[in-house]
């Protein structure tokens, strides 16, 4: 692709579509604005609505490499940013035991002994990059503060080497499952996109594009049932990926429509708690058979 930047909204949405992602208006608008304003996008929403997929689609639409940082509790600078290669440094010191310390010191704190981790890599690589910081709500507060420097100035300070500024600004996508409130400072540096379950037409289009073998009528029935179930108070509402799994399951089993028996045997693909399944069957006016499971 010659120009990775998005030309306009239509361009954004058509390129995301050809990357296999069907965006709605909010997603298209925010993606386009993030590109133009040079700001990171913070995507929040329930699990399984396509937050991570969006980052992958943007990377593929821009012909960029995707650098992914999966966050977890206890993630620290050494694993996210950079780390000095102690072993190599030690070897070097031992090998040069007759050299003056001053010379060695300048040597061992050079790029050769630096292990770059995703964040530093995203900044220093001289190719178009999409940086995905996945599940940012999992990290500790200190790490969030560390992210601030990167997200606003696109630079990293390594005490021994000085400040490393971005060669090329990466397109940054952060995702959050909202398990805790992110700091105001972080949110202020980002464009905010709340992703919810898609509306019925869009979900149908997603099913049809991901599982093209599904007949129109079945897809329609599927997404309407899923929508109806999402209105219930379930412990875990069905996600898009679970809708797709359900579609594939029905297809595999050769069903062309959903009725009581089909629902009772396959609803476990969609819902992961027994209490949810019972509730769903009752809601769909199919009395759960207490004997079966």
């Amino acid at each position: 692709m010659t120009d990775p930047r998005f030309a306009g909204l239509e361009d954004t949405s058509s390129r995301l579509e050809s990357a296999g992602y069907l965006p709605d208006r909010a997603i298209t608008t925010v993606t386009f604005l993030a590109d133009r304003l040079g700001k990171p996008v913070l995507v929040e929403g329930p699990a399984g609505v396509g937050k991570t997929e969006l980052a992958k689609a943007i990377a593929s639409a821009r012909g960029a490499q995707l650098v992914r940082l999966q966050c977890y509790e206890g993630l620290d600078e050494a694993k996210a940013l950079y780390e000095w290669n102690y072993k190599k440094q030690l070897l070097r010191i031992q090998a040069d035991s007759d050299r003056a310390w001053e010379d060695t010191k300048d040597d061992i704190f050079g790029p050769e002994y630096l292990l770059t981790r995703p964040l530093l890599q995203a900044i220093t690589d001289d190719i178009e990059t999409v940086l995905l910081i996945d599940e940012v709500d999992k990290v500790d507060f200190e790490f969030e503060a560390l992210l601030l420097e990167i997200l606003s100035d696109f630079q990293v300070t390594v005490p021994e080497m000085g400040t490393v500024a971005a060669v090329r600004r990466p397109f940054v996508v952060l995702t959050s499952n909202n398990t805790r409130e992110l700091s105001e400072a972080l949110k202020r540096r980002c464009l905010y996109l709340h992703m919810d379950y898609p509306d019925i037409e869009r979900e149908k289009a997603i099913v049809r594009s991901r599982v093209p073998e599904v007949p129109e009528q079945l897809a329609d029935q599927l997404v309407r049932i899923v929508r109806s179930l999402r209105n219930l108070e379930l412990r875990k509402a069905p996600s898009i990926s679970e809708t797709l799994d359900w579609a594939r399951t029905l297809l595999e089993l050769g069903y062309s429509g959903v009725d009581e028996g089909v629902a009772q045997t396959t609803l476990s693909v969609l819902l992961k708690h027994q209490s949810d399944i019972d509730k769903a069957l009752a809601h769909l006016e199919m009395a759960a058979d207490p004997g079966s499971n």
Partner: protein, 478 residues
């Protein structure tokens, strides 16, 4: 509220600023930089597309899903779909305006209500969204007008809904689409359920269209700032338990689980940080391997935490029922954080309700609270005194030195005996006793409230009027 007119700003920029002000008034935090971003964003997009403008402004100014509803409401006020004074962003929407509709005449020939409903039913069945929107406007025009004494015409939603109720419409839709009656086989029951969902959603949209149309007309008459002030509703976490509508209660209920998850994460973080400083030799040596045996990165042991046992005694009588329900849901959603949770409900006598909530299906538990539990003994008016003595007689052994006891209620005892000695005895047995009171502090001890008397036998009586205060308290206890 409106920013002073600054000639250096364009009309659009001023509108964006006004919107930012209104959002702040409604307690949605919008930083100065957010407002600037919003202006920069609005310069980049196609202003003729109102949906695009809405998303662009939302992306820059709204940073939390619970603020989005407020934003949408205010956006509609400051960037109405069609206005008598078109704004830079509005011209494109003129096309959406139906040709036969003339916004300035209130003398349009009003259609017969039956005729109107017949068309509405037909359009809803077809799922024609544009037609539904047009009908919503017509409904406001024909049925929502009230002529004020000064001769001006105002529009009110209740006037519109006086003419037909949406529940009746839903039944009619079901009948006319052949979806009523007793279905023999399950497949048609399923179809019926799906069809019903579909109709419900369209009728909901019809109602929203009517409400937004009425707001638009009010804005035309009185200006956006005025309406914004009047419309301001507190955010879900600030809603007073005493004054919530059914709809708000629903939206609050959906917040319970995320809130519980957030609290659990916060508590876990706190616990992880509270190290007691003892060196963990095994892990330190393991870490030192990567630095050639030098223990440069010592590891410390975490302290073992005791998880409190929780016993709740909740007043579930009418006045404080909403508060009790939320507290019950929240504490049971947090079950994992406590070694044990037991809950009791009372009105004038007490019964254990732990089993209702332990299944995890809260809405069902709430429904069964009044049918499956024996909480009424005499007349169904709160009687703290009797409920306490009954608790003492039957469940006193639930309180152990490990227990944190929470009592929920307003302490309005209908002038009956307080039996505060029970509380005194329970306090002796329990580790801690807290009382959560959903009434404002200044009302405690007034009228038939004996909150003051009970407060003496607790470790603290805490005012708890909204989800935010409730969450703060729960975090402290955990």
């Amino acid at each position: 509220m409106a920013a002073p007119a600054d000639t250096r700003l364009s009309g659009l920029q001023r509108r964006v600023l006004d919107l930012a002000h209104a959002l702040r008034e409604a307690n949605v935090p919008v930083a100065v930089s957010d407002g600037l971003d919003a202006m920069r964003a609005s310069a980049l997009i196609d202003l003729l597309d109102r949906g695009q403008l809405r998303e662009a402004l939302a992306a820059t100014m709204v940073k939390s899903p619970s603020h989005r509803a407020t934003f949408d409401l205010l956006f509609d006020l400051y960037f109405p779909a069609r206005g008598t004074q078109p704004l830079p962003g509005e011209a494109g929407d003129e096309a959406e305006r139906p040709a036969e509709y003339d916004g300035d005449t209130h003398h349009q020939e009003a259609r017969d209500i039956d005729q109107f409903l017949a068309e509405l039913v037909m359009r809803v069945m077809e799922g024609d969204d544009a037609a539904i929107r047009r009908l919503a406007m017509e409904a406001v025009e024909s049925f929502g007008a009230v002529r004020q004494r000064d001769g001006r015409v105002s529009f009110f939603a209740y006037r519109v809904f006086r003419n037909f109720n949406l529940g009746g419409l839903l039944r009619r839709l079901m009948t006319e689409s052949g979806m009523d009656g007793d279905a023999e086989d399950a497949a048609s029951a399923l179809t019926r359920r799906l069809q019903r969902d579909e109709f419900e959603q369209r009728l909901r949209r019809f109602r929203e269209e009517i409400e937004s149309e009425i707001r638009r007309r009010q804005v035309e008459q009185q200006g956006a700032d005025e309406i914004a002030k009047r419309m301001a509703r507190p955010l879900p976490e600030d809603l007073d338990f005493f004054r919530i509508s059914a709809e708000e209660s629903e939206s609050m209920r959906r917040q319970i689980r995320p809130l519980a998850r957030k609290l659990a994460t916060r508590v876990a973080v706190k616990r992880r940080r509270a190290r007691d400083g003892r060196l963990d030799v095994r892990r330190t040596i393991r870490h030192s391997l990567s630095t050639g045996g030098v223990p440069a990165d010592p590891a410390f042991k975490a302290r073992k935490h005791h998880r409190p046992e929780l016993v709740l005694i909740c007043d579930v009588s009418g006045s404080v029922a909403a508060f009790a329900r939320f507290t019950l849901m929240l504490t049971h959603a947090l079950q994992g954080q406590f070694s044990k949770v037991r809950s009791f409900a009372f009105i004038d006598t007490v019964d254990e309700v732990t089993r209702l909530f332990s299944g995890g299906d809260f809405s069902d538990a709430i429904k069964r609270l009044h049918t499956d539990a024996n909480v009424v003994w005499l007349d169904g008016h709160s009687d703290y005194g009797h409920a306490f003595t009954a608790f003492h007689a039957r469940y006193a052994d639930a309180i152990t030195p490990k227990t944190t006891l929470l009592i929920l209620g307003d302490g309005r005892n209908n002038y009956r005996a307080s039996n505060a000695w029970v509380l005194k005895d329970l306090k002796r047995r329990a580790r801690r006793v807290y009382w959560l009171n959903p009434e404002p502090i200044q009302h405690w001890g007034t009228g038939d409230s004996i909150a003051d008397e009970y407060a003496r036998f607790t470790d603290g009586m805490i005012e708890c009027r909204n989800l935010r205060q409730l969450a703060e308290f729960v975090e402290r206890v955990v």
